[in-house]
């Protein structure tokens, strides 16, 4: 199973090679009788001769696999080989943010990523809401019911798109310039 050594899958071409070749291989031996050291160097070198090509092949193949998404005409993102498209999406200062809120007797409350998306990951929560909006009524109703089941109190869950001036929101907490309600359901 040890594949990257080369020795287990490529045999030495010759068991004995000269000192100069052994020296060129870069193998070093610090201890042991001269003959044993020579044999070890020779074997190492012989393995090196054969596997040098193998190492380059492995490097080129692995390198191509990693860099392929950057070279292909229309690559899709994947894992663990990725196009790494983070932070490249075209954005404007005014942005639409999909989320879910709880409307109860106290007013409109924001919900945590755990309640909206079921995990602590905020991006996952945001993407879940966006996908449900894109998928339509059935997905929206399902997600709304899921969120309502995670809310700890009575009220209405609303799945919304809020349009914000992102910079103004960050600097001064300016409320959204528009809110679109896609789905509403009652929390138990």
């Amino acid at each position: 199973m040890t594949l990257l050594t080369g020795r287990s899958w490529l045999r030495p071409r010759s068991p004995t090679l000269g000192h100069r070749q052994a020296a060129r291989s870069g193998s070093r031996c610090r201890e042991g009788p001269l003959t044993a050291a020579f044999a070890r160097r020779s074997a190492s070198y012989a393995a090196g001769v054969v596997t040098n090509r193998g190492r380059w092949v492995v490097t080129v193949v692995v390198g191509l696999v990693v860099i392929a998404p950057a070279l292909l005409a229309d690559p899709g993102d994947d894992f663990p080989i990725s196009t790494y498209p983070m932070f490249t999406a075209e954005r404007d200062r005014v942005v639409d943010i999909d989320t879910a809120v709880l409307v109860d007797a106290d007013g409109r409350r924001r919900l945590s990523p755990e309640i909206v998306g079921g995990t602590e990951e905020i991006v996952s929560a945001a993407v879940t809401v966006s996908r449900a909006i894109a998928d339509g009524d059935v997905s929206l109703a399902r997600l709304c019911a899921e969120i309502a089941g995670r809310v700890d109190g009575p009220g209405s869950v609303e799945i919304v798109t809020e349009r914000h001036d992102a910079v103004a929101l960050l600097q001064d907490g300016v409320p959204p310039v528009a809110v679109t309600v896609h789905e509403r359901c009652e929390a138990p």
Binding site: T2, L4, F79, I81, S82, T88, V95, V123, L170
Partner: protein, 292 residues
């Protein structure tokens, strides 16, 4: 590719990658359990899990997480590494693919998965491992240097791909700083709307758009200039420092952490990291524990 290295160097990388992955897996057990409770309609599996079709049953996912942790312990300790090395690589790929199978591809875990594959398929337990107990440590060899070199190449290429993506998808807007400014504003605004913590610096920086032009250019220099790290250790040190600072900047402005590069382990293959282990083993208490 013919770089000769001591077995200890590769062993140190095994300890670092294994330790990092284990802390990650164990520390996020509650999160992984949350994932198993998500609705199947959210399942969008990445490549490795695509043959499954539907998400695995909750029990199966928990067992695979448990196996990944157990093999991770064996990988880190270097116990029966010939089998546990590849097994942990596959297990980590499975668990991290599962994490990325719910509608959003994170880009924080890719490199550690790739590095664990390289280490897991290499003779990484020839020193400082349970397998190497009572054995003479092998002399320096290319079979210990090559996997590290390959890991270094993979590190470099991931940054190059990231840089190409910015040029490809954002183009000139990235250099103008607009894409970066709007991305930072959007990302923090989304965190605020979704009730999460966000960068306290983002609001202050957003008021100075001119700052983002040099930041955008420097980001591209670091990412597209990554191959210089392969020219030698001094180049690698400069580039690694720049890349690390770049990740610190992402934390400061976007509150997004890439733990693997921030831990510096992503850059370890460039350096004589066995000295770190030798220093630790130099402490008498640790030496007693490590000596059979």
């Amino acid at each position: 590719m013919n770089q000769v290295a001591p077995a200890r160097r590769l062993a140190t990388f095994r300890l670092l990658t294994g330790g990092f992955a284990l802390v990650y897996l164990v520390g996020r057990i509650p999160y992984f359990l949350d994932l198993t409770r998500l609705h199947a309609s959210r399942w969008v599996p990445p490549l490795a899990l695509r043959p499954l079709g539907d998400p695995p049953a909750q029990g199966v996912a928990v067992v695979i997480l448990g196996l990944a942790i157990v093999t991770g312990i064996a990988y880190t300790a270097g116990w029966r590494f010939r089998w546990t090395g590849p097994a942990f690589a596959v297990g980590l790929l499975a668990v991290m693919s599962y994490r990325n199978a719910w509608g959003h591809l994170f880009h924080t875990d890719n490199l550690v998965v790739l590095h664990v594959f390289i280490v897991g398929l290499a003779p990484s337990a020839a020193a400082w491992s349970l397998d190497a107990r009572d054995k003479t440590e092998p002399s320096d060899d290319v079979r210990f240097g090559f996997p590290l070199r390959l890991a270094a190449v993979v590190t470099v290429l991931t940054y190059v791909v990231t840089g190409i993506a910015k040029v490809r998808y954002a183009g000139g807007d990235w250099l103008s700083g607009d894409t970066l400014l709007h991305q930072i504003a959007f990302d923090n605004a989304r965190k605020k709307v979704l009730g999460d913590d966000y960068s306290p610096l983002a609001a202050a920086f957003a008021g100075h758009p001119w700052l983002f032009r040099p930041m955008g250019a420097l980001t591209l220099v670091v990412e597209l200039g990554a191959p210089v790290a392969l020219l030698g250790r001094r180049w690698a040190a400069w580039w690694s420092g720049a890349a690390w600072a770049f990740h610190v900047g992402i934390v400061a402005l976007m509150w997004i952490a890439f733990p693997y590069p921030l831990s510096l382990i992503a850059f370890a293959p460039f350096f004589r990291i066995e000295r770190l282990g030798e220093r630790v083993l130099g402490w008498s208490g640790v030496r007693k524990l490590a000596t059979p």
